[in-house]
């Protein structure tokens, strides 16, 4: 008998040698048992399938964008089609992949296990959040298949409310609904982390993954309602001609940008903070060390969440805000850069005197360190007012945020998927292929996006369909497109070998990495309620000292 997942692409793993052992995968069978599940681990898998689907949709749009830009003239698609492509690429990747990626998959799977709980605080609300995501996603798919949107994912007014005939309201509703899915996930995590920690699991014994998710959840809870309100206002102006943003109706177009970025800047931290949490776990495990400066890393997550709400207008330095507000927001942008820098320094210091293993998750962590550092440092350029005037709305910005969101968030996501894959699937992935994929992603990524920094300083504006007036930009664009092709291969590879490993991979032991953390103290895959008996925590986080103590035999790291 085989359990049925509501997705034909993923074959279900069979566990011949563990046939008698019940776990969350074989506890119940049938599509119904998945669609009605309240098990956080099953919901995490539902999310994994759905966001992978959207990742490849968004990636397909990206590939078409890069192909169009291979030549200066607009020759592959029509101008309107191109505008829809980058709009849908942004919307799908931001709202349907990046924001749910780590929290809804790895967070859902791991938050209860890491704190020693049986499930999240509100299991049914957790399922509801997946359904909201799916309804939002289905609406977005419908919107894309019946015409799409051409405003850019930023929906700037008055273009979006009065000058485009595309399906703004439908896309808005899709994002509105998906936003509630995000709010409910955040709510669930906050309550779970506060109320459901196992005995002895104090705040300063929490894995830093949990701190990162706690900070993320606060942003989701407080920020997301603002984008929901903004979408309602856009729909009201579009449908009812209420004068909110369009000056012709008595509105103020800058009001929209303030509201939009009040959510959408913190949303960047929704994407990157969980990834920072993943990287922290991986670096600790593969250096066999406790994290250097635990409290600084923990509180820097909270600091990022708080300061993240105070820097939105750095997207608007040339939008027509006053010189003095620009000054304030530039200053605060440097304030939010500091906690990120502190994290990078602490990760680096953790490596010092470690015992470092080069397994695939660690390669992703190294990749993250490199790419996130470049992404963060180029943020200093953009926060410098005098330079921002020149490079904002150019490819410099495109390169910068891809270094953060793809170089940072997606590297962390892939690293995390590999690291916890034995726990999720009960199987080991093929290490050689995984290392190769990490290398390909790193090379492809840099080749795609580094030339865009140069393009941006040269002055190439973003969202240009046709650059035949400036053929001097072509060589860098060709490099970028070549890189994107390599990057695409790098993303397809894990899809293939992870699927393969579900059937053919070696069965994983309880703790194949000999890693710290409660999630490794239960079976792989875990039973439905995670632990056979409630764990009692008597040790600090990252107790690699005890795990590697000489009286224990050295556990070989899985290959």
């Amino acid at each position: 008998m085989q359990p049925t997942i509501p997705h034909p692409m993923i074959p279900q793993p069979v566990f011949p040698e563990a046939a008698e052992q019940k776990n969350y995968l074989n506890e119940k069978y049938g599509a119904w048992s998945w669609l009605m599940t309240t098990d956080h681990k099953r919901i995490a898998l539902l999310y994994l399938l759905s966001i992978t689907f959207f990742f490849f949709i968004g990636g397909f749009f990206a590939l078409l964008i890069r192909l169009e830009l291979l030549t200066p003239a607009g020759d592959l698609v029509q101008a309107d089609t191109y505008n829809k492509l980058f709009t849908m690429h942004g919307m799908v990747m931001v709202f349907f992949f990046l924001i749910p990626s780590i929290p809804a998959v790895l967070g859902n799977f791991l938050v209860p296990m890491m704190i020693g709980a049986k499930d999240l605080a509100f299991p049914r609300i957790n399922l509801l959040s997946w359904y909201l995501y799916i309804i939002g996603g289905a609406l977005m798919m419908h919107c894309m298949l019946t015409g799409g949107v051409d405003t850019g994912w930023t929906f700037y007014t008055p273009f979006s409310t009065g000058f485009t005939n595309t399906k703004i309201v439908e896309a808005g509703i899709a994002i509105f609904i998906a936003g509630f899915s995000s709010i409910l996930t955040g709510l669930n995590f906050v309550v779970t982390i506060h109320r459901m920690r196992a005995p002895g699991m104090t705040w300063s014994r929490l894995p830093l993954f949990i701190w990162a998710h706690y900070a993320t959840s606060i942003i989701q809870l407080l920020g997301t309602p603002v984008i929901a309100i903004t979408i309602v206002l856009v729909a009201a102006e579009r449908a009812l001609h209420l004068g909110i943003f369009d000056p012709k109706l008595g509105g103020d177009p800058l009001l929209f940008q303030h509201l939009f970025w009040f959510y959408s800047h913190p949303a960047v931290y929704i994407m990157i903070l969980p990834s920072m949490g993943v990287i922290t776990e991986i670096i600790a495990c593969f250096s066999r060390k406790r994290i250097f400066g635990y409290h600084f890393v923990a509180f820097s997550s909270i600091a990022i969440a708080v300061f993240g709400f105070l820097v939105w207008a750095h997207h608007m330095f040339v939008a027509g805000i006053s010189v003095y507000s620009a000054l304030v927001f530039s200053f605060l942008s440097y304030a939010v850069a500091l906690p990120s820098a502190i994290k990078v320094f602490n990760w680096t210091a953790t490596l010092y005197k470690g015992s470092i293993h080069y397994d695939a998750p660690m390669l992703y962590a190294f990749g993250f360190l490199g790419l996130f550092t470049i992404g963060g440092l180029t943020g200093l350029f953009l926060s410098a007012l005098g330079i921002d005037v020149h490079v904002t709305d150019t490819y410099f910005v495109v390169a910068h945020f891809h270094y953060i969101m793809v170089g940072g968030a997606v590297m962390g996501y892939l690293g995390g998927i590999h690291f916890w894959w034995p726990k999720i699937s009960g199987r080991l992935y093929p290490e050689g292929w995984a290392r190769l994929a990490a290398l390909i992603v790193f090379i492809g990524f840099n080749l795609t996006f580094f030339p865009q920094f140069l393009l941006g300083y040269m002055g190439m504006p973003r969202r240009y369909y046709d650059y035949s007036h400036m053929p001097e930009f072509q060589i860098l664009n060709v490099m970028s497109t070549a890189g994107a092709t390599i990057l695409g291969v790098g993303y397809l590879l894990p899809m293939v070998y992870l699927l393969w490993s579900m059937r053919r991979g070696k069965p994983a032991s309880e703790n194949p990495w000999n890693a710290a953390g409660l999630e490794w103290k239960t079976a792989s895959p875990p039973p439905t309620f995670n632990f056979d008996e409630e764990p009692v925590v008597t040790w600090e986080a990252y107790n690699y000292d005890e795990l590697d103590a000489p009286h224990k035999e050295e556990v070989p790291v899985a290959k």
Partner: protein
């Protein structure tokens, strides 16, 4: 091939070298920071790679180190912030005596009007060595007036004026881009900035003039009947506009505002919103009755009678039509780049 592969945009304004200096400083500082992090990671990863029998040494942390690597970057950040703000202040402070050029953006073209009356589309001629201030507005959506060779950019909004300025330093033809996404032909909303030697520029200016904007404004001012209330004495039902530009104005609701371009514009299109103290709310709105170009003309006129400068060429004002958009193609308008459309 490398001739066609520049890595640095032209430096063609006084601002370009200032922005580039800060950029190079940032490249060096961030390059050093990145190198430091990468070197540490690479060195630790190699030096402390796993060896059988050698255990990791557990280190809790170090407050001294944390404070050091917070404080030093913070000081560096503040230096960058200060320098960036200083350059920004220069970018955002047009010299008082700058030549004024009005820009009206629309999907998908740039309409340019020099104060002296020359009109251009998707081109802007300027002389080397003169401060030029652009007073910009949009007829429809948000655009952004971006000249990479000058390192300046400013969004152009409907319903208000935004301003940017530059002083060109090197003759040549430079890209003008729309940098804020504005719809289908966003990437076609490009043009050229033609920087000329003063003599060439004078020759170009004398090619054909339709009279200064302020003269057109004076004509519109009379035609629309503005002068019946805004008289040049104290007897009018509206405020006397002589000398009002740039001065503080007491409003009916007790506030005081400066009568800048945006205030004049707002008072024409939405007179009730900031009414001058002591006057009745009797002025009708001119929203929809005057085009963006005519508002610009009126503003130019009110400025001219305020600054007590002689109105250059006022006598030639009669030959310029007041009929708005149809005049786009008048005069010496240069040939249009392919793809742009005149409406």
């Amino acid at each position: 091939m490398l001739n066609n592969f520049p890595l640095w945009p032209d430096q063609a304004s006084t601002m370009a070298s200032r922005v580039d200096a800060l950029y190079i400083f940032l490249l060096l500082v961030t390059g050093a920071m990145a190198l430091l992090v990468f070197a540490c990671v690479a060195f630790f990863a190699a030096r402390f790679r796993h060896r059988p029998g050698v255990r990791a040494e557990q280190i809790e942390g170090s407050n001294a180190l944390e404070i050091t690597w917070s404080a030093i970057p913070f000081l560096i950040f503040m230096a960058i912030f200060g320098w960036g703000a200083f350059v920004f202040f220069q970018e955002r402070t047009p010299p008082a005596d700058a030549a004024e050029v009005y820009v009206v953006a629309k999907q998908w073209m740039w309409k340019v009007e020099h104060a002296e009356g020359q009109r251009e589309i998707n081109e802007l001629h300027v002389p080397v060595g003169r401060d030029v201030k652009l007073i910009m507005t949009s007829q429809d959506v948000i655009h952004s007036f971006y000249i990479p060779a000058f390192r300046i950019k400013q969004d152009v909004l409907p319903g208000r004026y935004t301003v940017e300025w530059f002083r060109a330093t090197k003759p040549g033809v430079y890209h003008l881009f729309c940098a804020e996404y504005c719809g289908t032909q966003h990437s076609g909303m490009v043009g050229s900035i033609v920087v000329q030697q003063p003599a060439d520029y004078e020759a170009w200016m004398n090619g054909a003039s339709t009279g200064p904007l302020s003269a057109s404004g004076e004509k519109i001012f009379a035609e629309l009947g503005c002068s019946t209330c805004h008289r040049s004495d104290t007897q009018g039902r509206g405020p006397n506009l002589q000398g009002v530009f740039g001065k503080p104005v007491q409003l009916d609701d007790g506030r005081t505002v400066t009568a800048d371009e945006n205030y004049l514009r707002e008072s024409i299109l939405d007179p009730g919103s900031k009414r001058v103290k002591g006057f009745q709310p009797i002025m009708p709105t001119f929203q929809g009755l005057v085009s963006e170009e005519q508002v610009n003309d009126l503003v130019a006129y009110i400025k001219a009678i305020s600054l007590s400068k002689p109105i250059n060429g006022a006598k030639t004002s009669a030959n310029r039509a007041v009929s708005g958009d149809s005049s786009d193609t008048e005069g010496q308008t240069p040939p249009l780049p392919s793809g742009s459309k005149v409406q």
